[in-house]
Symmetry: C2
């Protein structure tokens, strides 16, 4: 499915996608694959509105490639040596090769989307899909940049945080359902409703991810519990606590977050502050409120019963997932 680029780079990209092992051997059963959330959303959007999801496949693949390009680059930036229980690309091939491989994956995404023409999609729509992919990719990168800016900032408000994740994670998720709707229906109001639904999904997805980064279990998420605290990530529960914990607890937490590296005792202390100020409860009620809004946004649409049910189950999955 990944177009051939030639040379070792193919092997690197196919390794990252879980289709080859690090020796370059093709795998019968892919390993370390992601949830393929974005392509699923795209195909669902198209199918739910009565379109032929087969025609949306190039766009769905493009979305997954954009997501994976960003993961390859993120892993370099964060110095992560493992993703989905496998060594990361930069760790195996070095940061230089990982940098260009990520760039190649970024190109392949747009190239793949151009395959829409061969699926009988009009040029006007194919161009709109390309434009949406580029714009959401750019928004995602802006979000990554804001996230980097937040690293040395202890006074981020919840609103600033939600604005950042709307770009960093939300943009591509929203784009996924939007493109699906665009390819499945000619009615612009359908596209708008799906955009609204996508914005909610994005927020639920990221805040849940933040919760799992703190309270998740390693064997399920591929990350260790408390991991995001250890790395001093300013995820939603932390931002909430820094805004809402009692002054003494807040100051203690701020001091911990200014350290170069954290002890296990520090991690325990932060976990205690989060518990005390209700950060976990707040995160959970935020995603539940978003879930209700997300479902409401689809109410006016002419969806079949199965599609309504899928849309609900998808939200339920994102709200309750443990990995």
């Amino acid at each position: 499915m990944l177009p051939k680029t030639g040379f070792e780079m193919d092997r690197v990209l196919q390794y990252h996608m879980g289709w080859r092992n690090e020796q370059g051997e093709a795998l019968d059963t892919p390993e370390g694959q992601g949830k393929a959330l974005r392509p699923a959303l795209c195909l669902f959007g198209c199918h739910a509105l009565g379109g032929d999801w087969n025609k949306a496949l190039p766009a769905a693949a493009a979305l997954e490639f954009i997501h994976n390009f960003s993961l390859i680059h993120d892993d370099i930036q964060d110095g992560d040596i493992e993703r989905r229980h496998r060594p990361t690309v930069w760790y195996l091939w070095g940061p230089g090769k990982a940098l260009v491989s990520g760039d190649a994956m970024h190109c392949l995404a747009y190239q793949t989307a151009m395959g829409l023409k061969e699926k009988g999609i009009t040029q006007e729509r194919a161009l709109r899909v390309s434009q949406s992919l580029v714009e959401s990719s750019l928004a995602m990168i802006e979000g990554q940049c804001m996230d980097l800016d937040f690293e040395n900032n202890l006074t981020i408000s919840q609103n600033q945080y939600l604005d950042m994740i709307r770009r960093k994670t939300g943009a591509l998720i929203t784009c996924s359902v939007q493109i699906g709707a665009l390819l499945g229906s000619e009615d612009p109001s359908h596209e708008e409703a799906f955009i609204e639904y996508g914005v909610r999904l994005g927020r639920i997805f990221q805040v849940k991810d933040d919760m799992l980064g703190i309270w998740g279990y390693e064997h399920q998420t591929g990350k260790s519990a408390g991991n995001d605290i250890r790395r001093r990530k300013k995820s939603y529960p932390i931002v909430y606590a820094l805004e809402n914990a009692r002054p003494k607890a807040r100051n203690e937490m701020a001091a911990i977050y200014q350290k170069k590296s954290l002890s296990e005792g520090d991690v325990e202390n932060v976990l205690a502050v989060l518990e005390e100020c209700g950060a976990r409860r707040q995160a959970q009620s935020l995603i539940e409120a978003e879930a209700s809004s997300g479902l409401r946004s689809l109410e006016g649409l002419p969806l079949h019963a199965w599609a309504k049910q899928e849309a609900e189950e998808l939200i339920d999955f994102l709200v309750n997932r443990e990995y």
Copy 2:
């Protein structure tokens, strides 16, 4: 001209383009700008074939952005702290910010190209331009990847080397004249002739660049003489010498190229080997042969006298440039 992305990233990108200083202040006179070779080639191709070059501006800008995205990432990879007499982006803002800024510039290139629609270019052509940009960008990245693979290889043939630069540098230069021709003429034979011309330009450009990297002068190129030897780059004269020097000289050179870091004496020795085996003469005659072929490829075209003259002067400039 660079579309707004928001946040500090804009400042970083505009700094790289030479439009702002490192404090983020807008500059009346841009500093450290490149030669803008690719946009010039694109506008020339369009104008030479009787098209309105104004309409090609979004594509011309996109080409320059793709080139600059690759420079931002190259500088991280190579650890270069200076480009065009100014500190590099990663050196000022760190590799993480430079990585995402380069990614953003990559997106902005495709986004800018979509402005062709507003210039009255048909959707079919706008899509072909986007496709060509993505494909040449991918080829460029493949070339970078091959170049990385060559680093630890002392037995690269001239043909392998020429294949690598056809991608790494040639693809985007060829794409520049091709897109110009595509926007300037409806005759596919014109596009083909310009592609052939572009392939020659690309080769001349890179081999000349290789010569300047070894025998250029710092105040003219922004790079110090012998610089590419010091960095053990496998540029064309080196590849030629490793293939053609007498065995003793070849072995000496191979030994030097396997060292972790080179002394000034090593650099002098390599320069002597290059001189002795005629690597400089060979590089010069290669680019002169390419110059003749390049001019021949335009012979059958209905170009005005001014355009023929420009095409010749451009080749002369690339063959003889000192910076």
